[in-house]
Symmetry: C2
């Protein structure tokens, strides 16, 4: 190559000048003033004789919380002074002119504008007319005309762009258009409308609509499928600043304004943008146990603090794990008016690239080969469902859709997931966008035990087809009870429909394990134990020999402290009992003592202990195995209130905690918040000594009447997931 | 909020420790030595008595270009010393032991390992056995055993991972496994295999296979649909270092090794990784005209220079436009063995988020409103097709798939596209992954002329349903002729099938313009002109009045210099003739003079002139319009060779250019390369004065026998897209 080629010394200059006719309008914050007078070109000399035409004195958006608009649009709960309406439904505003309006002579329009370079054909500029002869996609009418005041009724199109619109009133004269100046206080938020049948997020069920759009109080399920734990969450979708923060999330994603009418596109972008991977999105994930430079994922009590921090710092907020992603996503959905809920899948298959197989590798003695077992099954995983039509799919796949913002190693190489039709997942229609295959694997993978041979090959010794996706839960509408929605995702285990679906999925290339090793004659069950963190307990292994001969089993029992992701932190127990079973003798029980001191110093994150017992029957070579997650129950926080429960009256929150352990707790954070009554707040205790109590008394002034809750969390490195709450009703 | 919350001062520490059991294996460059001796645990005291077992003296990969393997696997063209084979097809290697091999006693395996943490169940560790009783997914056999030398035949599974594998020979003894040390010279590349019926990229057509896998010589079509231009391209997929560079592209993308068996996943990742957006991928796009810090997109003559620069600098290469993305993508595909071709779509709808509508806005006089016309139609757009089965879709949608690496503002917010089944696009099956809707819009959008009313609303005045996706071309297999494959993408305009497909697409939410304005009685055609850059010419407007009355038309004729993206650079011509047409009088012609001096100083990029004539018929209000792209033909480069055309003999390349203009050309780059005969090379001339000639004579030494070409380009700011080539055949 010749020597004189220019070498880049500075970052290369790149231009898109020849690439597109105009920069894309992708920020709701972008504003461009519309001219106050827009001449038609044929101007008489001198100033135009506009005196004879209407002049606009005042525009009243009728935006008070109790006014004619907000209660009807179910938007009066937003802590926001601007008008907030839902599309596909009429709202009203009042225009005061300088003289009475004459319908036969006067021509005026109310104009709505969003983003930079507003255009009629892009739906970013919408003039609304009040005469029957002339109508735009947003119907308008004169509701009332008294003296110089005209009340105009306007119905934003049910498929219009969702966001913050600027409002002008324009009078058409023969010389040009005269219009009001932009006044920020007249801006109007237009939201999705689950109450409007023509809106693609229309949800017919009254209770589900109340729950999934308007409820700020959430319950998130975690723990183990047969020992479910729950924690409260304040979604805070109506909190001050949250609506603007949700619009900012789309702006930060550079999402074209014109796409913001479509809930499919909005939720897909949000699933990418709520995690920080690729795009400096809302939440930074951390599964490492060191949360020094942020808030521990277990410590958050609500979403609004997170969204407000993101919109003010424009940097990812530290830290999240799956339920934090799901809870903040849920706030985003409900705030914009898309019905949303958090669901929890117990035993969720992960990181296996959408294969339908999770491999557990045993060595030739039946002991788990930890080095070679790299697939993980999460004890639980939280994601979101949102409700919408799916015009991009064949008929019948609208309804609840899975979206997931937790960053995962997907085959697609991008950190986002969904919307994927729940019905498509149930029916194995994995070819439908977006990411249905991946969610299908999360609820349908087989657990395959493989024994490693000396030559490095593996032999399948046991297949468990029912472990993964054992149960999917969400909160019941209107109540604080669990709702089992497993049957939304799967047909009943062993049913003919289930078989058909799995065959269908195989047609789409999702192969299951084909080997079906012979069923042995020794059975093993590990029984459930409920344990309070810090207690010693017993683990019971029940053996059953169904054969006519004696069986002897070399067992390996591992006890590990695990993350909720199923990843092992450290082993605290290893026993290798040899068990002899008489012929046809049922119910031999092996009891293993688990002293508290063995696991307490090794606890990480959420306090889960994972026991795996595997072994090989000497006589037959059969591999026996059993797994059990023990969720350690944590002590409770006591939350109480005192004072008169009335709007704006002083009340006190009293949060109490007693350290029940024989060791000290260091660097303890207590957080508290309550929808409509107390913004997020926290207190730090450097030390809570063994057996001692702390009490935090904090005054608060309820902002809003109605039933609500005060929710608190306590968090420190040695003890996480301590929650407490109290219900109260605020009088007006 | 309390005051003592820790504030992030340093970048937050983030850990995925609890997130996954092991870091993902996502680099082919990662290596982990396998132990030379792997004991089974039951070791006798002292060194194991291994003397009685086989010892391995030598392993010969039979990797010479003319040997038993490469010609049969169609890999002998790669300028690469290692063994290169295609999966699903047997290759051979020779193992020399310390004594003759005894099949009944001796146990050995050839082991293949890829990436970090190789695992049998992940397909990243594959032992190959030579006995019938014991076989792994890669069948093995003894082809020949003479004295101590065993020739082993090995067939990599037809769905195995594609990449660079490490090879070991291992002997199993009762005490453990004894194996060879890793020797880099024994590494073997395993590629996709379009010759193997069991491979998902199997391509049955002999000619297409030769063209789309083995041909290095490419032709890329550009220009206008009725005045097609072409340029040569050296894909260079067999050039030294290119195969490693292609594997590096996947490593840089962090693509999990286990996904590299699947051409769907490989091509999807590549479509993201070939552009620099999001991921610092291979090519930096620049549509700005200033290429000071890189190579002008029009100047490149081949792909290998780009891929080698990327793999050595690990930084995006400057600069690309669509044909560069497509050409380098094609090299990536062919190099890995996925059949690939570059296609050109003439009049490609872009940046409209998958809508089926491109709007052109006219003011109330029928003149184009440039400020409000933001949609663009590219004069042409190049993308790739690759051939594979689609097990993730219902039966019947395998075959050619569209992938596109040119970054576009998709609704999805990510810069990648495909693979999308060409057949799904033709049949309007837009619900099938990936991005079928977007490609469908590129070939099917309507051009809608809208007239802007005084109140800001728009009225549809004309719909052109056949402008976009006018023609799709690719190179014919085995010949340098054009192949029109428009019918792969669309049914014939106006056919009943076409109507059905558009209805189908509407079912999936892709709405077309519904308004059908009445057809007027005045017709307008602008006739084709072929112009050499620098020439003055005439533009002819043919009017036809089919009515019985006189018609008068206020015409506006714009001449713009445009980028190939359809984006206007500058206007050089504006005329507003008033045309009067007699009744029933056909063929009134208006001639507009276009002097060279008007456009020459304003030329950008590829020399396209775009003329739009619009107007309004006074009597009827009908809008008439016509559009015409004039591709300015450029002078040719003369490329000649002299000397004996024989491998390793010195030859001379003579590249001549005469500046035909009346102005000087500054900063001129001439580039030349030829597959198998000359690596990319360039020369810089600071000045080529008006009317003068330059001749560049460069020696070269052909590396490979067979027919080939020498291709050259000349590029400077005032004149781009000057190409020349010559064919030659090198004797062995
Ligand atoms: Ca992200
Ligand atoms: Ca990229």
């Amino acid at each position: 190559m010749s020597a004189n080629e220019p070498v880049a010394k500075t970052p290369p200059k790149v231009s898109q000048r020849g690439r597109a006719a105009a920069p894309p309008a992708n920020s709701n914050a972008d504003k461009k003033e519309v001219p106050e007078f827009e001449p038609f070109g044929l101007m008489p000399r001198g100033p135009p004789p506009l005196v004879e035409f209407l002049d606009i004195l005042e525009v009243d958006m009728l935006q008070t919380q109790s006014g004619v608009n907000k209660p009807h649009h179910n938007t009066h709960m937003y802590a926001n002074d601007r008008l907030i309406v839902r599309r596909g439904q009429e709202f009203q505003l009042k225009v005061t002119f300088d003289r009475p309006y004459k319908p036969s002579e006067d021509k005026f329009a109310v104009e709505f504008v969003i983003g930079s370079s507003p255009q009629f054909n892009k739906g970013t500029y919408v003039p609304v007319f009040v005469t029957k002869e002339r109508q735009s996609p947003w119907p308008g009418r004169v509701v009332d005309s008294t003296d110089s005041v005209v009340t105009v009724g306007i119905t934003p199109a049910p498929d219009c762009i969702v966001g913050k619109w600027r409002v002008y009133v324009a009078v058409t004269t023969p010389y040009g258009i005269r219009r009001t100046k932009w006044d920020e206080s007249r801006d109007v938020y237009v939201l999705f409308n689950p109450w409007a049948p023509a809106d693609s997020v229309f949800l017919d069920d009254y209770n589900e609509r109340l729950e999934c759009v308007l409820n700020e109080l959430g319950v998130i399920y975690h723990g183990a499928f047969d020992d479910v734990a729950e924690r409260p969450w304040n979604f805070g979708q109506f909190d001050y600043g949250v609506l603007d923060a949700c619009l900012f999330v789309m702006d930060q994603a550079g999402m074209p304004i014109t796409n913001r009418s479509d809930p499919i596109k909005v939720t897909r972008i949000a699933s990418a943008m709520l995690n920080s991977r690729d795009d400096d999105g809302v939440l930074e994930g951390n599964w490492g146990g060191d949360y020094t430079y942020g808030v521990a994922p277990t410590s958050w009590t609500g979403s609004s603090e997170i969204l407000l921090q993101f919109s003010s710092t424009k940097r990812p907020v530290c830290y999240a794990q799956c339920w934090v992603y799901a809870a903040v996503f849920n706030t985003f959905l409900r705030c914009l008016g898309i019905p949303g809920r958090v669901v929890t899948n117990f035993f969720s298959a992960h990181d296996n690239n959408g294969d339908l197989r999770t491999d557990i590798i045993l060595d030739d003695k039946g002991k788990i080969d930890k080095l070679r077992t790299v697939d993980t099954i999460w004890n639980y995983h939280c994601w979101n469902e949102c409700f919408m039509t799916r015009p991009d799919l064949p008929l019948g796949f609208g309804g609840w859709q899975v979206v997931d913002a937790t960053p995962q190693e997907t085959s697609d190489g991008m950190y986002r997931c969904g919307p994927a039709s729940v019905l498509a997942i149930k029916h194995g229609q994995l070819c439908f966008q977006f990411d249905a295959r991946f969610v299908f694997a999360e609820v349908n993978s087989d657990v395959v035990f493989k024994s490693r041979n000396r030559d490095g090959t593996l032999t399948t010794v046991k297949v468990n087809t029912s472990h993964v996706g054992r149960m999917v839960l969400t909160k019941s509408p209107g109540q604080d009870t669990r709702r089992d929605i497993t049957d939304h995702y799967k047909f009943k285990e062993g049913s003919p429909e289930e078989r058909t679906v799995l065959e269908k999925a195989e047609e789409y290339g999702s192969e299951r394990e084909k080997a079906s090793p012979p069923k042995g004659d020794v059975e093993l069950v590990m029984s459930l134990v409920e344990v309070l963190v810090g207690d010693s307990f017993e683990l019971k292994l029940q053996f059953n020999n169904t054969s006519n001969q004696t069986r002897s089993v070399d067992m390996y029992v591992n006890g590990n402290v695990v993350y909720y992701t199923g990843v092992t932190s450290s082993e605290f127990l290893f026993k290798s009992p040899e068990v002899t079973l008489g012929p046809k003798k049922a119910g031999k029980e092996v009891v293993i003592q688990v002293p508290a001191k063995d696991y307490m110093r090794k606890l990480v994150e959420q306090a889960n202990l994972h026991f795996i017992a595997t072994g090989k029957v000497k006589e037959t070579g059969q591999i026996v195995s059993a797994m059990r997650v023990v969720t350690l129950h944590t002590p409770k926080l006591t939350v109480e209130v005192s004072g008169t429960a009335k709007v704006s009256e002083k009340m006190l929150a009293i949060i109490k905690f007693t350290n029940p352990f024989k060791f000290h707790l260091e660097d303890v954070y207590v957080r508290v918040e309550g929808p409509g009554i107390m913004p997020p707040n926290f207190k730090h205790y450097s030390l809570v000594t063994a057996g001692s109590s702390v009490t935090w008394t904090e005054p608060f002034y309820p902002r809003r009447a109605g039933p609500t809750r005060l929710m608190a969390s306590l968090d420190c490195a040695a003890l996480r997931q301590v929650y407490g709450q109290t219900e109260l009703t605020i009088e007006p």
